[in-house]
Symmetry: C3
Subunit: 318 residues, 3 copies
Amino acid sequence: MKHLLSIEQLSREEIEGILDRAESFAEVGRRDIKKVPTLRGRTVVSLFYESSTRTSSSFDLAAKRLSADVVSVKAAGSSVEKGESLKDTVATLSAYDPAAIVIRHPYAGAAQMVAGWTAASVINAGDGKHEHPSQALLDVYTLRRKLGSLEGVRIWIVGDVLHSRVARSNLIAFNRMGAEVTVCGPPTLIPRGIEELGCDVAYGLEGIEEAEVVYALRMQKERMSESFVPSLREYAASFQIDSRRLQPRQLLMHPGPVNRGVELSGEAIDSPQSLITEQVAAGLVVRMAILYELLAGAEGAPSGEGESSRPTPIGTPA
Amino acid sequence: MKHLLSIEQLSREEIEGILDRAESFAEVGRRDIKKVPTLRGRTVVSLFYESSTRTSSSFDLAAKRLSADVVSVKAAGSSVEKGESLKDTVATLSAYDPAAIVIRHPYAGAAQMVAGWTAASVINAGDGKHEHPSQALLDVYTLRRKLGSLEGVRIWIVGDVLHSRVARSNLIAFNRMGAEVTVCGPPTLIPRGIEELGCDVAYGLEGIEEAEVVYALRMQKERMSESFVPSLREYAASFQIDSRRLQPRQLLMHPGPVNRGVELSGEAIDSPQSLITEQVAAGLVVRMAILYELLAGAEGAPSGEGESSRPTPIGTPA
Amino acid sequence: MKHLLSIEQLSREEIEGILDRAESFAEVGRRDIKKVPTLRGRTVVSLFYESSTRTSSSFDLAAKRLSADVVSVKAAGSSVEKGESLKDTVATLSAYDPAAIVIRHPYAGAAQMVAGWTAASVINAGDGKHEHPSQALLDVYTLRRKLGSLEGVRIWIVGDVLHSRVARSNLIAFNRMGAEVTVCGPPTLIPRGIEELGCDVAYGLEGIEEAEVVYALRMQKERMSESFVPSLREYAASFQIDSRRLQPRQLLMHPGPVNRGVELSGEAIDSPQSLITEQVAAGLVVRMAILYELLAGAEGAPSGEGESSRPTPIGTPA
């Protein structure tokens, strides 16, 4: 595996392999020295055209815990502002011979294009409404730790499915792992024909009691002005997951950042059923695993000789 | 000591302990390799909701010189902009299991709240008008190096005392170290009842000759529009410390950044009595000492076994 | 050599020395571990008052590959916004005792002034319309690798010569290395008397066939509103380097970021004659060489004893 551009590209076995690797990094994370020397002397470029706290900090820290040097470029305050094309920016950053480029971009397909322009491994950290594969992997990881397996698990994904790359990547990943997915939201926010991806559709929360897992999506405030929802208040009245709707045996997930009081009530967020913090913790180890698989696995391993160019056993502290 | 939330919480002995530790880091700073391995493999999160050069760069570099990995989150360009609550942001960052979170926030009490939401050690890098304890510690450190002791030293704090967390933290710290403090400024900028904290009050610079130390505060330009002062020019006419007012035997301090020509004249800033640069240098070693005390001291020491989990003698280069 | 403030200051021998050093860092860059311990435990401050992707990321990564700790300060979101003077900002950052300060500033002469205010080595990363010496060095490096020598090589520098620090530094550097330079652009964008620096002047592209190297400058869009050029379209009609104008034996250079379709056509950028990506790659190793020369060369070498304070042979991996 050279790039991680989509969940679509991954078989169930490849997903399981990444999750197993992430488990071993979780063990590293419980040590005092939460670091391994795997990517020492190699460079990871983080190129974010949309603002982000959790995804960008998670990838940055993942790379640092693998001992890589990190170059972070944000669209604001960079030559991106001067109108440089994505292609030229990638050519520029590729000239540093990075091991990987982590890219977030508002256009669907951007990561795929970047992969055609660079010798580095490319990791899609979100491309428009298309995909967000590391999010899907961390969500599968979180559920697998909690439930052992996703086989036959019923998951409802609730909210703005139409505009959500998380919904799309997670639907594919959950299906691939054997879960049964229902997508739920107002008709204006459910893409036509989504059933063909292998899911049920619900236009209201009736029936959500059957789910073992409720996965709420972030409601983008700008959707109101675009007339997809009449108001956040009305959206919340019909689709907010609150502590009355959430059953004690149900698990609650959300990709963050949460709009408290919109898609989730404060009580629900803070309830014992909420896995939101576990998801963030999972993000770090899953992203370490992704970097490891792409850069230090069988194919991606450095080819030189010497102590540190051999694939480093994860067990060795940095 | 788990957190550093205020100067209020520290006894004179605890302050002395941090300053002694800072002295040993000053010795490290005179070496070619200005670095120790104390926090190798541990993560320090820096979360700044207000802009800052000196405090944020000082904490970041302090953490790096202790060999920690640093995750810096600024309010701009982060999910903070998307309206995520402080609580949720802290939960997110805490999921990385950081050793410490350094927080600056415009609301008094923010650091205290953060301490209730995370397992990490929390360091208050300024919370509204409340406290800025690392600033007070570096100022005491600077004076102790210069004068040996603060016992009986007369210090005038001049300027916008009302809105200044630095004034508040320094007043407490100077008192605790035995100094005699006078706060001085226009009546609109001196909080009522401040004498109860243990200081004299002056509404003009008359009498400032008695001080051994003149500590000028930054005048926020936005105070003019709020009618606290009629104009910066009038403020400067009455309260600017310039080379005529400054006695040759007096020491001059300022928390920075300075408004040249407002609270201080250019000549005063550049005079031999000015300790402003020493204060910044002190900031680095004092913040190393704070991180060390919280994270590698008796209680904060890593509990595992093995070479690097033992508290590292400061003398050992990284 | 203590500072790198201008190309003007460098003899041909000094330039050659830096380029030779850069060659050895290019060799390090082909290893798996692209890093040497030369500046371990030392601090490099990067202080950018103008936005930049390539120069700032290039210096940052260069410092990291030399194992330095890097403190990056951008004008936005820093105390610079609070109106702190450059002098005070430099005094603040100098208090951390950095080995070097890399400065970009909109005023010509800023780097020179900074050098007067700090004990650190100062590297000019662009000061107004004055100089951008590391750009000139990387361009000479790129051409030397391609052509062996610049002796007698004919180079046309095309575009907004008037406002370009790159044009100025490169003209000086190319001359010093023995090249024959022609500057070319509309009369409004060629400074009067530039011939005295040792170049020919052309007000149109006629005759450019004689050049072995075509060096296109970035057209700043704001120049239109300032009436230097009637429109980007008219500028492009007269001065754009496109694949019809570019001869197969000519080499094409540009300092980046490129305005595709303005000073260069997309085809020209992507042609085999384009050295633009090589220039960026050269930037990294040339900046490593600059840092090495200033900080670890004969004069700049750390004076202490012990393993890592000896000038580290470049061949030793970090």
